[in-house]
Symmetry: C2
DNA sequence: CGTAATCTCGAAAACGTTTTCATGACGTGG
DNA sequence: CCACGTCATGAAAACGTTTTCGAGATTACG
């Protein structure tokens, strides 16, 4: 037995149009037919076929989320916020990960295009070409943490520059001079901004060349661990380390703990993002709070608003402020150098 | 300009059937027409409408994943494994989270049913009724960590019982006697099994009543923190704590660190799951390794295999073995009581 | 009481594909 | 040279909905 609208109509002794009208409440239907239809729907266990619906209505009820990777806490949080908001609006989420290279990204976009009504893109590595490709698709797009180079999409960023600048300034104010930085991926927009914030603050303190204090990383715990080890070997040793994100900072904490180096007594460590793990790290991690979940939700809200708008909306460009969160992993510098 | 197969056919001067044949390579088409079609496809920027395709072919190309929550590292890892496998097979993933209660779960299933070709369900709180509801849907279902009460679905479990049993036995072998356990959610199948494993090992060591050593938790860091504090106040204090999962254990480590209690010297702490954070905790966390990512991928593989099978396949019931991973957070008991 | 307006509802078109069926061209074997 | 199979191709059906259109019934009003 197939669960189609025809079957329901047959059982209720009405036309399929009537069934549709009862279900969608578009037009009043006489009470007895309405009742018969509802009974038949129950008996058959009918639910409308979404494919048929979207074919006709040109909307799918789905929203796509493009991420580099779902395993990191940052993205997981973002996803959670997005999912919560999506459920609230009755949309479902279609996720697509691991787009470190352009080809898979384009392929994903193509595949997603007609399957969803809108797209949230959180791929800091994205370049102008990709962005343009995105923008010329059919669906509205919200980009998170992408460079501000096109105005065909909505953007939600947070203040990566100011976050690290504040963090660096805070450490400087606490007497630190040799502050190392572990960078994020070179191609990532947000990582670049964080780097610039660091340099700006260091220059403000009279350190114009920071090249000896900057280290390559890639936002992973693993990177924090290995680079942390390298930093330890330096002479003179830095008195503070700023990691490009919390995951990386946790890797640093891990290697310091293994070497028996006290944090923050001997060295201060700071992260970025304030993922949930930051406040459960040992010691608890000084970081820059980013309302990750809220941003995920905001992206979805933006999309839905745009989809429901009757008239074209101007593209917005929102920047979330960030906040310094000082915890146990940083302290005034004790170095008398 | 609409990007339909008609438009392509019109430009190429052929029928829509020919376009379809060229694209799907079902039947040979003369070389010149083939070329014209391909050019027209490019010119129009045509991609087939998935809704129309699935309406006809009765398959959507999507796979659904039901999770309680995407923010935890465990689920994030699972999702990553699933996503990787799905991409390999050309399926996309549709995720649905936060199904702590039955109603939203049913609603999600209904909504997902015709949108996907198969379902991965990781909801340890699921009960028999829900499971039956799932099984009678149209799509094949793979359940992860659910009770073994129906055989209408595929199941992938891992050995929750044996994992905690081994962990407990290991601590006992290291001289620990007062071993506390922080439970998982009461309704969760896996948490229940872990509890049983603990009790079995304790009974094996002659401790028949463990009620004074068991504490309620809910798999969160927060729970680990608060319950950890409670355990600290006990007299005599337990010499080891097994948390129902790593997240909870990390919460315990956090509170111990705050109270200045040395791990593992004064107290041993162990977790379960071996999430990536476990090896970056300070100290690194003794845990039970579960191949989370592999399990996520395996679930997808199972679904795809079933979908592609020509003939009905028997339902399988796979149990992954788990492995004790001893790290720094546990040590022989120094208590001379 | 007649006509116009309102209301309920069914028939049918439309959405964009894939696939079946039919047709005409062509080559081949007897 | 004719019949027959093979081959490329187009016309049309089908998938399951929503929505338009029109018809018939009912109400409202003069």
């Amino acid at each position: 037995m197939d669960r189609t609208i025809r079957e329901v109509a047959r059982r209720a002794g009405v036309s399929i149009a009537t069934v549709s009208r009862v279900l969608n409440k578009t037009v009043p239907v006489s009470e007895d037919k309405r009742k018969r239809v509802l009974e038949a729907v129950d008996a058959v266990g009918y639910t409308p076929n979404p494919a048929a619906q979207s074919l006709l209505k040109k909307e799918t009820g789905g929203l796509g989320v493009l991420l580099p990777y779902a395993g990191e806490e940052f993205f997981a949080e973002l996803l959670t916020g997005a999912d919560l908001a999506a459920q609230e609006y009755g949309y479902y989420l279609l996720i697509c990960t691991s787009h470190r290279d352009d080809k898979t990204l384009q392929a994903s976009i193509r595949g997603l295009d007609k399957r969803v009504d809108g797209l949230v893109v959180m791929v800091p590595e994205i370049n102008a070409k990709e962005l343009a490709y995105l923008a010329k698709g059919e669906d509205p797009v919200v980009c998170i943490n992408t460079p501000l180079s096109t105005d065909a999409v909505d953007r939600i960023n947070f203040d990566n520059f100011e976050g690290v600048r504040k963090m660096t300034a805070y450490l400087i104010a606490n007497g630190h001079e040799r502050i190392a930085l572990i960078r994020g991926p070179e191609r990532a927009h947000d990582a670049q901004k964080r780097l610039e914030g660091y340099r700006a603050a260091m220059q403000g303190a009279g350190v114009s060349d920071t090249s000896m204090l900057e280290f390559n990383g890639d936002y992973t715990k693993q990177a924090g661990y290995t680079v942390g080890e390298k930093i330890l070997a330096l002479d003179p040793r830095p008195t503070a380390i700023i990691a490009a994100n919390d995951y990386c900072a946790i890797g640093v904490l891990s290697v310091l703990h293994e070497h028996g180096i006290a944090v923050p007594e001997e060295i201060s460590v700071a992260g970025f993002d304030d993922v949930p793990s930051a406040q459960y790290a040992a010691p608890t991690l000084t970081s820059v709070r980013v309302p990750i979940r809220e941003i995920g939700a905001a992206a979805i809200r933006r999309l839905v608003t745009r989809l429901r708008a009757k008239h074209p909306m101007p593209h917005e460009d929102q920047v979330y402020p960030v906040e310094l969160v000082v915890r146990q992993s940083t302290a005034p510098c004790k170095d008398e150098a």
